[in-house]
């Protein structure tokens, strides 16, 4: 590797480091990640507790087939399939219990596939 290429790589790394520093400085701590897994006909966990006004990233996965995660109160409408997770970051601003359902039909037990978000 010649001197010019070494200089180029060093410059790029410096820029990337600077950019990362700016992002952290601007956003602070990354949002807490909450894992929610779906399979016929249940969510795990089936109760998730969030803190009011705290940003949180929902990481939604499926272990069998296509499922949905619909929370009208948070405007969440995610779809996950086997090997195809989905993410969304939200900040709940209202305390209470909020129902979430699977809105991707997954079989005869689908009608009561649900979980609860509790915001404290």
């Amino acid at each position: 590797m010649n001197t010019f290429n070494k200089f180029l790589i060093a410059s790029l790394l410096t820029l990337l480091l600077a950019a990362a520093t700016v992002v952290v400085a601007q956003t602070g701590t990354p949002p807490r990640v909450v894992e929610i897994s779906a399979k016929k006909f249940e969510f795990t966990p089936n109760v998730v507790t969030l803190k009011k006004d705290e940003p949180v990233t929902i990481h939604f996965t499926s272990t069998d087939r296509a499922h949905g995660l619909l929370v009208k109160a948070f405007k969440i409408d995610l779809d996950a399939d086997l090997g195809k997770p989905a993410d969304v970051t939200i900040t709940p601003h209202e305390a209470g219990s909020f129902a979430a359902i699977c809105d991707h039909y997954c079989g005869s037990g689908h009608g009561n596939m649900k979980m609860t978000f509790v915001v404290e």
Binding site: K72, I101, D103, H104, Y105, S108, N112
Partner: protein, 330 residues
Amino acid sequence: MAKPFDRRSFMRLSAASLGAGALLRFMPFGTTVNGSTLGTLLGARNGEAPGPFSIVQLSDTHVGFQGPPDPLGTKAFERAVDAVNALDPQPDLILFTGDLTHDSEDPAEHAKRFAAFKTISGRLRVKKRMHVPGEHDAALDGGTLFREHFGETHYSFDHRGVHFVALDNVSAGKPIVGAEQIAWLKKDLARYPKTAPIVVFTHRPLFDLKPEWEWFTSDGDEVMNVLAPYDAVTVLYGHIHRLNHTTLGKSQHYAARSLIFAFPEPPATSTADKKPLPFDKTQPFRNLGIREITGNGARHTLSVNDVELTSRELSGTEGVQQILKTGDFL
């Protein structure tokens, strides 16, 4: 079956129920418009003169469903077929608003259930029968089996001066109509004046009735925005296994009883389980029923009559008192 069931008895039962609070409803259907002009327009499209019509809506037969709470299987569906066959005169057409079958993970088994549905519905004397899928028919296979048996999952046609639109809000797997179908709907309706009487039939409600129980369509607002300019829109649907009448703007939305089991009034709490009403062997067909829609495409009138299968004329096991109980209907 019970004694012959003519239209007079149907109307008498409806009128009796009206006394209990709420069954028979009469809706003016574009009353400000010159019916004959519009009728001529609609009639010219299919060569059919606008005029009186009679339609029956049957919903949520769930052929193949086995298990609690209802051990009746297809008996309510078969009884409904007998009741409709006894109507004199016969209705012009029958609308099935989804969940004709109960799904199965085994496609061959599900195909048998479609065949069983067609065997029973084939006993109807009315040969003009239109269908839309429910999620139990079409959500697992994207509507493949439904299309094999009944053709497209959305379509439209004119009948007696009324424009009918079948909408599919199930076969995407989610409660959604979808951009492609909404674009088709816009194009379909653009041919009609804003005063045209329109009947939409679909499976799920097109509004947020109880989202926690999946009683909604996620893009129902977009569908209703397309329909909003029209003066006389009636939406007939199933899915919720109980009666409901909701007015949204100028449109009227009617949910039909099922022919398998009933759901209760949804509780206010958002996390309550969705459980069918318990089966009562002394009143086996309670909360199950059929609907007749009558009207006149030339005069722009339409009425919706719901009759419970426990009516004496229908079941032979229950009296008219059964449908007079306050609270049976919304």
